[in-house]
């Protein structure tokens, strides 16, 4: 069936989240933008309690085998799974509130998503439990290094097994780790570090390791000062003979001869997280468009839908085009997470939604400022903040270009070496 009805539980959830966004986020947007690296604890503690109350410990939805006890219930009700859809809606609404503050929502974020996508049931149980504990905890994923961003096969951070103690010894430096500090220093969180267990194996040697807060040899060495999303810390992490137990390696330590399994784990994580990042872009876009229309209305401009373009003013035309971008990009996000919920491959759709999400949020926020002229450019309104917040959507979790590459390989049926 082709249908577009928002599932009832999600509609309910969105009512609550809108209140959170309006009461807990928007009033503090400007403050945390102007006080970089201060932590919005009020929001964090509120969200933590609220999530405990509804039993939503980790932000990543259970991928199935880690969460068996829930399944019979679902089957009884014959209710199709909507975990990722709920999450996409949630992230959209929280980012509509404030995408910087959303990024410090407790619950594990990308770190938990990586555990969900690549861990065994035991690992999920063990590592994700902290997100249901009394105190809020955070998670992060560390991929980028000083010498490599999108080319993740060039990662140098190494993991060597100390056979005597059965521990992995990690060495290297990670940069641009979203929520790295709050995960390691300000809470009992974790960071999933991607490291190579065999530098000669390229991508095949890449493995995700869980590094928990308090691990000796792990230090946060730098916090970046950014254009936007300033409520969220972006950290550099140095690993110096940092030792983690053998079972902190997510998935299998064996290196298959031909396949690139380690890298595939990273990619599986991205298939899950890319539409979610796109959803945050949708939230910022919607916030921008709503405020733009409100400000225009104050100046007596009402958008006349239904007219041929030739009869529209330039501003009306821009706004209508922005709505087309926004709604169609949102539908692509929903399709990508709907596929994930229904356990169907979604690599193409996930990257497509990220391409589109990154494109439209930058275009919409840029155009909104252009339209509002001198009013938009001031800090009296949040439009300029959202413009700055928006740009990261087209960069993190795979730049627009990397995602185009993924889309292109998918539609052309090419492997990595055929389309570089």
């Amino acid at each position: 069936m082709i249908e577009f009805e928002t599932p009832k539980p999600i509609v309910k959830q969105q009512y609550l989240l809108q209140t959170v966004a309006e009461e807990m986020m928007r009033p503090h947007s400007r403050y945390f933008d102007e006080h970089e690296h201060e932590i919005p604890w009020d929001y964090i503690n509120f969200m933590h309690q609220a999530m405990q109350a509804v039993g939503a410990g980790s932000l990543a939805p259970a991928s199935g085998n880690g969460d068996k006890e829930k399944e019979p219930d679902d089957k009884k009700k014959k209710y199709p799974p909507i975990g990722y859809q709920s999450l996409a809606f949630m992230l959209e609404m929280l980012s509509w509130g404030d995408v910087g503050i959303y990024l410090v929502t407790p619950g594990g974020s990308l770190g938990a998503a990586a555990v969900e996508a690549t861990g065994t049931p035991e690992q999920k149980k063990k590592f994700l439990a902290r997100f249901q504990a009394e105190e809020p905890a955070f998670g992060a994923m560390a991929m980028t290094e000083p010498q490599c961003g999108s080319d993740t096969s060039a990662i140098r951070t190494s993991a060597v097994l100390d056979e005597e103690t059965n521990e992995w010894v990690l060495n290297g430096e990670k940069i641009f780790v979203t929520a790295g500090k709050i995960s390691l220093e300000d809470s009992d969180g974790l960071v999933v570090i991607w490291a190579t267990i065999d530098p000669s194996a390229g991508r095949a040697g890449m493995r995700p390791f869980v590094v928990e807060a308090g691990t000796p040899g792990v230090s946060v060495t730098k916090l970046e000062h950014k254009m936007g999303i300033r409520a969220s810390d972006t950290a550099s992490i140095v690993l110096q003979d940092a030792r983690v137990p053998f079972e902190n390696l997510l998935g299998s330590p064996e290196i298959p001869k031909k396949e690139t399994k380690g890298f595939k784990g990273a990619m599986a994580t991205f298939d899950a997280t890319r539409p979610l990042v796109a959803a945050t872009g949708i939230g910022v876009s919607r916030a921008t468009l709503e405020l733009l229309k409100e400000l225009l209305a104050q100046q007596g401009v009402k958008i006349r839908y239904g007219l041929p373009r030739q009869k529209l003013t330039s501003v009306e035309r821009d706004v209508i085009d922005m709505e087309i971008m926004l709604e169609s990009a949102w539908l692509m996000v929903i399709k990508a997470v709907w596929l994930a919920d229904n356990r169907k491959p979604n690599s193409l759709e996930a990257s497509m939604s990220k391409v589109r999400g990154g494109d439209i949020v930058t275009k919409i926020t840029q155009k909104a400022l252009e339209i509002m002229g001198p009013i938009g450019y001031t800090r009296d309104h949040l439009l300029e903040k959202w413009f700055r917040d928006a740009k990261i959507t087209d960069i993190y979790e795979g730049t627009g270009q990397i995602n185009r590459l993924v889309v292109a390989r998918n539609i052309l049926g090419y492997r990595g070496e055929q389309l570089r």
Binding site: M1, Y305, L307, P308, A329, R356, L405, V407, L412
Partner: protein, 364 residues
Amino acid sequence: MYGFEPSEEQKMLIDAIQRYTTNDLRPAAHDADEGGFFSEDLIEKGWELGILQASLPEDYGGFGEYSAVTGVLAAEELAHGDLAGGIAVLTPGLYAMPIFLAGTEQQKESLLPAVIEAEWKPYTAALIEPRFDFDPNDLKTEAIEFGDVYLLSGEKVFVPYADQAEAYIIYAKLDDATQGFIVEADAEGVEVGKRQAMMGVNALPLHKIKLDKVHVPMENKLGGQSSIDFEKILSSFRIATASLGVGLARAAFEYSRDYAKDRDVFGVKVAQKQAIAFMLAEMATEIEAIRLLTWEAAWMIDEGKEEAAKYAYLAQTGAMDMAMMVTDRAVQILGGHGYIREHPVEMWMRCGRGIASFTGLAMV
């Protein structure tokens, strides 16, 4: 709930249309574009797929029920075969669909079976007018009450098969709103002009018609005494245009993708160059975006959602940009070969620009 997969029934219809477009319509498209017409057999074969018939209930000679979603799926698939041919196959719907959506019970019962139960016949409609800022909600063609008839006067363009028409729906402004009028082919005052020479859709006969005080009996106003909600009809036009654009763009995308995978350049395939691969990735993304928007608008129409008309408008507006962008790039990817009429991409590019002006040529 969300859902992105056509139902079994819809899949069967899509499969049937694909067989028709693959085996019949697409292979005939080039010669039809050059020669200016499709054979009657070919169009009849498309008509026998039963797209319109299946969207009307038995009471009026059909064998199904109306679904805008099924309609956009079908129109997309037809246009994927060929835009002109797709519109030709759908033409009787220009007459039947407004009667079904807005006609009185009596109009439906007396007029629909003759269209639905017969072979394909050029029942058609006239909406579009020769103005750069043509606005279906602000027609220059006017209807005025004159005793017990309406008098229609004005000028229409892009009227499919006007010279052979069995009957028309003609849209005109009455009391500041667009209304439809059922007009017999031989009505006095209808002057069918020469066939219009066009940039694209050359296989589809489109005509100007002039209306000079055409007498339309009161009972032939669509919907009878009460005025019709034209927005509903317009939304159906809009999603049809959008889905035709999606189908057309898919054809252009697939062709240029396959060409790029086949053509050598600097020791690799053209598609292995990021400049080309990224163009293709963006084309696919754009098509998917507008396709979903069109589906959503159609679904809203089926569900009677308040915002359906707005979304149909957004889908149509998005589709005109998307169709132009994708078909232009398809030509670009083939380079010089794209400009040569041996390849279909230049024809699709000519069609692509048409999507911006074709709201009124098809309904679903």
